[in-house]
């Protein structure tokens, strides 16, 4: 198993955001993480990436315990992420944004800035942003920002990418492009993906397995079709059965 969560809990004062969450993810899987707003999905993602420290439980990645480690160390181990609301470095160009990921993702003490920018160019070309490499990140459209985040995550040469609601705010055409891009990432980079998403159609099409969070707890786990037919999930999240 690549990623193992055992009994992970996190509370903010009196609010229990994540409560005794345990699941495992194998290498090469695309796992969806769904749940209503406030279920604790992004908190769980922050716990895995190291932005937050769990109050209880352990997170194991590739045989190492990473719970409690600094985020930069977790990234160096091979976990990268995107953000629900895109967070580029706004005053830097697209190319420099990705160059930061190239330098910092792995120990590359002898790499020059020029070499890093060359590597970054490859990542940008992969996501289709090479033509906008000299544009400031703050001038990009929403889809381009999402592509930039993906390129920056790929630049760190991860084994696991945490994708947080990549479809939010995209129209149908952009959503289809985003799915094709993520499929291309999986095929060419052989990464494992944990994907938070609200768009059920995407989850049904793109993921192999789904974990459902509700009030910080896992209430269902399994294939997308099995999950959407689970009565607890229907009650908590979906509202009515999808045929």
């Amino acid at each position: 198993m690549l990623l193992q969560l055992k009994g992970i809990s996190k509370r903010f004062g009196g609010l229990i955001a994540v409560n005794d969450v345990s699941f495992s993810i194998g290498e090469g899987e695309i796992v969806g993480l769904i749940g209503p707003n406030g279920a604790g999905k992004t908190t769980l993602m922050n716990l895995i990436s190291g932005s937050l420290k769990p109050d209880a439980g352990t997170i194991g990645f590739n045989g190492h315990t990473i719970s409690g480690e600094e985020p930069h160390r977790i990234c160096r181990r091979g976990i990268s992420r995107t953000y629900q609301i895109p967070r580029p470095f706004p005053d830097m160009t697209t190319l420099l944004n990705v160059s930061v990921g190239v330098f910092c993702g792995k120990k590359r003490s002898h790499m020059s800035l020029g070499d890093a920018m060359l590597d970054a160019s490859h990542c940008l070309e992969f996501v289709g942003l090479f033509g906008k490499r000299n544009m400031l990140a703050r001038d990009l459209s929403l889809f381009e920002l999402r592509a930039l985040e993906l390129a920056r995550a790929l630049a760190t040469t991860p084994r696991l990418i945490l994708i947080d609601e990549v479809m939010a705010g995209l129209n149908q055409a952009e959503s289809r492009r985003a799915i094709r891009l993520i499929r291309k990432v999986v095929e060419e980079y052989h990464v494992t993906i944990v994907w938070i998403e609200h768009v059920m159609k995407i989850i049904m099409e793109a993921t192999q397995r789904v974990e459902v969070l509700h009030y910080g707890e896992i209430i269902a786990s399994g294939s997308p079709h099995a999950v959407i037919n689970d009565s607890q999930v229907v009650e908590a999240y979906l509202g009515e059965k999808i045929a």
Partner: protein, 344 residues
């Protein structure tokens, strides 16, 4: 063996096996070599007027505080309201050793560097511990505490300060002495500019930009922000201490009332902001602008104490990106740090 080659817009210097390249900026208005040549001509042009050469040296000293400060504010992502604390560290170290032991400037220099290093390391945890505005508040208070220490302990000679500090150079002709020290101040400026430019155009500059823009994201991308913030703070503190050392030996006297109070801090911060919000070349424009403006306003008598900060505040509102921002509008794609007031 040293060989110098000129290839179109590139100057190549070969020293033995090593090759160093220096791109020649063909646009004259932003050519640093041309700028340095112009600055170097100033003391020669004004060689008969020691007061103007003193003004020139003062502007260079101020620029040598503003240049590392610009790097520091980007590299730690926080506003430092007390860079003059390290001017005081370097200046008082040089002054105390020179006055009490008779050491010359080149002997007090390594001691001033060590003092800057020790205090830089001592206060560097502030960059990682002090969140949001607290870093700015603590750095605002540090020089004021230092000032009170200089009043309390007699060794610092209180308001009078330390005098009789060995000068940088001693020649018989006073005008020649002013000229040489003016060029020494320019040399210090060039060295600082070269070092900071090389740093900021390397991976370290990229890390500094990432930390300034969004340190949480930089951390999640694998950047050890604590290490780079501490390194940046310590390196820039040492540089500012060296400026304090220079000021002590240049003026022959060093008093906390001149350097550690809020008006001096205001001047430095305004140089950084008016020159171009953390831009290192803009800091030179800012330093000369502030020094010349201050000198011109003295013709109005004591009212210049009110006029000077008032004019600078008006400029801050009318030129939000500083003087360098006027040029910067044509170079939109270059990295331009945003000085942020962080809540966390």
């Amino acid at each position: 063996m040293v060989r110098i080659e000129h290839k179109r817009a590139l100057l190549v210097v070969r020293i033995g096996d090593k090759k160093f390249e220096w791109p020649i900026e063909t646009r004259y208005w932003r050519n640093p070599l041309l700028g340095i040549v112009c600055l170097a001509l100033l003391p020669i042009v004004f060689s008969g007027q020691p007061d103007l050469i003193s003004l020139f040296a003062t502007a260079n000293i101020y620029a040598c505080i503003a240049i590392p400060l610009g790097w520091q504010m980007t590299g730690i992502g926080r506003l430092n309201f007390g860079p003059q604390f390290f001017v005081g560290i370097g200046g008082y170290t040089a002054a105390l050793i020179s006055v009490h032991f008779g050491w010359g400037p080149w002997e007090t220099l390594p001691v001033a560097v060590c003092a800057g290093l020790v205090f830089g390391v001592m206060f560097s945890p502030l960059t990682t511990i002090a969140k949001g505005l607290y870093f700015s508040l603590v750095t605002l208070i540090l020089p004021l505490i230092f000032l009170e220490v200089t009043y309390y302990f007699r060794v610092f000679q209180g308001e009078t300060g330390l005098y009789g500090i060995t000068p940088l150079v001693m020649v018989d002709n006073i005008k020649t002495e002013y000229l040489i020290t003016g060029f020494l101040s320019l040399l210090m400026l060039i060295i600082f500019l070269f070092v900071v430019h090389k740093v900021l155009t390397s991976r370290i500059g990229l890390f500094a930009a990432a930390i300034n823009d969004d340190e949480e994201v930089a951390n999640n991308l694998g950047l050890n922000i604590k290490r780079w913030k501490i390194l940046c703070f310590v390196a820039t503190s040492v540089m500012i201490s060296v400026t304090g050392w220079f000021a002590a030996h240049y003026f022959g006297t060093f008093a906390g009332v001149t350097y550690l109070q809020l008006p001096f801090m205001l001047k430095i911060l305004l140089m950084v902001m008016i020159g171009g919000r953390g831009d290192i070349y803009g800091a030179i424009y800012g330093a000369y602008f502030v020094v010349i403006l201050e000198k011109l306003l003295t013709v109005f008598g004591t009212v210049h104490y009110i006029l000077f900060p008032l004019i600078l505040m008006i400029l801050l509102f009318t030129l939000p990106e500083g003087l360098y921002g006027i040029y910067r509008r044509h170079r939109y794609r270059e990295y331009y740090p945003t000085i942020r007031v962080r809540k966390r």
